[in-house]
């Protein structure tokens, strides 16, 4: 009796297991077909950096204070400041993501709401230079806004020079956008 019971008990457990797999067979699948479907990203996700675009002022929020560059432990950020005071801004902003560890310290350091980390997470590039991002890659809204940012800055400086206010004879002139790109 005992070996027979062992055999039948084993068979019964196999049937139980197969019932489980059959149930799974007909259950909806959990696969997310990644390139076509994406999971929602947490709002606090530390993805690709972007420089915030101020639609009202038609410029990037960044004034080139370099606080982010100073906060950065791995020396990722460098920038070119133009103008000063209320007309200050950047016409170039370079981040070498090959060194970046996405620690968020630059975002925390920024007093002007200028730099943020977005939800983009596809950084793969085919050459080392590809991970060095310029202002055209970083500006929110893309190269178009990077160009408009420089235009606004140049206009502000011109106005300041006319009024003879602190923006007079700036040491650094904003370069045309083509050069910055």
């Amino acid at each position: 009796m005992n070996p027979l019971r062992t055999l039948l008990g084993g068979l019964w457990r196999i049937f139980l297991g197969m019932g489980l797999t059959l149930k799974t067979f007909f259950r909806p699948k959990v696969t997310i077909r990644y390139p076509y479907e994406r999971r929602p990203v947490s709002p606090r996700y530390r993805g690709m950096f972007y420089l915030k675009w101020n639609e009202e002022k038609q410029r990037l929020n960044c004034v080139g204070c370099t606080l982010c560059a100073q906060a950065c432990p791995t020396d990722v950020i460098s920038m070119n400041k133009v103008g000063k005071g209320t007309t200050a801004g950047v016409d170039e902003f370079v981040m070498d993501l090959g060194r970046c560890m996405f620690c968020n310290l630059c975002v925390e350091a920024c007093p002007f709401d200028a730099i943020y980390m977005g939800d983009q997470y596809e950084f793969a590039v085919t050459e080392k230079e590809g991970s060095v991002l310029r202002i055209v890659d970083l500006a929110q809204g893309g190269p178009e806004n990077a160009r408009r940012n420089v235009e606004t800055l140049m206009r502000l400086q011109a106005e300041a020079a006319e009024k003879g206010k602190p923006g007079e004879s700036p040491k650094q002139q904003a370069r045309p956008a083509e050069e910055g790109a």
Binding site: I14, G17, L20, T21, T24, F25, K29, T31
Partner: protein, 331 residues
């Protein structure tokens, strides 16, 4: 003109052989796709989805990839054995399809000892597997080959006993006559002794076709892929093809022996019924594969000799007794 050419017996045989080969190879492609889909679905995945609609061209892409791959022969390998082994595995599988009756009259060669021939021809493949394991000169392959020798020879016995019980009932060894004896839903599976025999047969065939839970010759997690680890390209494809063709044949043979062959509801051709039933059985085999874990070597051999062989012997006695005393003969 084509009709004239077909009158020539040689051309006719050639066409038959080509058709059989095409059916087997296409069937194998379908099986590979099915296996992946079943594996995926059972694991809550989708399986292949990219190549072709719902991924059903995936196996074609795979076949093309395998044919295009470099054919590597390892330097320390025994060249003669290495090159010959895939054929020893592949040809017997094709050879057994020779006697498989798809429908009445749809059989390449019907002769009175077909059941015996299936067993005998199928056994040759064991030699191919051992040759592959030895010829590769790789310790994992050798282990896989030796394991498979022990396993396949052990499980051959209960399978033969199960087929023997069927032969008692059909009073014939011809597969056509065995299937004919089950016409009109008098399938052998409904006979109590043969129900047990069907179980023994399916478990034995699981082992014969190297499928989980008896996939020790391949045992991906311990022997890489066992006897065919070092094979690549078209030679690997032959092992792969043989394995799936074997799986299909084991199911088709089970249909012929136990599930009435081409017997089914009117409305579909007999051959379609046979193929349909075979695919259901293939699905069951895959279902088992993706449910159960692999057994140990000692469990494997112990199960064959201590459980399946005694049950097989009892079934043979039972079948013989019911044929003689209870008039269990189907006709």
């Amino acid at each position: 003109m084509i009709a004239q050419a077909l009158e020539n017996p040689w051309i006719r045989q050639l066409v038959n052989a080509a058709m059989l080969l095409a059916v087997i190879n296409l069937g194998v492609l379908v099986l590979i796709y099915l296996e992946r889909k079943v594996a995926g679905y059972i694991q809550s995945r989708l399986g292949p989805v990219h190549v072709g609609p719902r991924g059903w061209l995936q196996s074609v892409a795979d076949a093309v990839k395998l044919v295009l791959k470099e054919d590597i022969i390892p330097a320390p390998a025994d060249r003669f054995m290495f090159v010959l082994a895939p054929f020893f595995v592949f040809v017997p599988v094709l050879a057994v399809f020779l006697v498989l009756p798809f429908s009445s009259g749809w059989v390449a060669y019907d002769f009175s000892l077909a059941a015996l021939y299936v067993i005998a021809a199928g056994t040759v493949a064991i030699m191919g597997i051992v040759m592959a394991g030895w010829g590769t000169n790789n310790k994992y392959s050798l282990l896989g080959g030796l394991r498979s020798a022990a396993q396949l020879i052990s499980y051959e016995v209960p399978v033969v006993l199960a087929i023997l019980a069927v032969v008692f009932f059909a009073q014939s060894m011809s597969l056509v006559e065995i299937a004919e004896a089950q016409r009109g839903f008098r399938w052998f599976i409904f006979q109590p002794p043969l129900l047990v025999a069907a179980f023994v047969y399916m478990i034995g065939q699981l082992a014969e076709t190297n499928r989980t839970p008896f996939d020790l010759p391949e045992a991906e997690s311990e022997l890489v892929s066992g006897f065919h680890t070092e094979y690549s390209g078209i030679r690997f494809a032959m092992f792969f093809l043989a394995e799936f063709a074997n799986t299909f044949f084991a199911s088709a043979l089970a249909v012929v022996l136990f599930f009435g062959g081409w017997d089914g509801l009117p409305g579909l051709t007999g051959a379609l019924w046979l193929v349909l039933k075979s695919y259901v059985l293939v699905f069951v085999l895959m279902w088992i594969r993706w449910t159960l874990p692999r057994v140990r070597v000692d469990q494997l051999l112990g199960f064959a000799w201590k459980v399946l062989v005694p049950i097989g012997l009892i079934v043979v006695l039972w079948a013989a007794a019911s044929v003689v005393y209870a008039g269990g003969v189907a006709r």
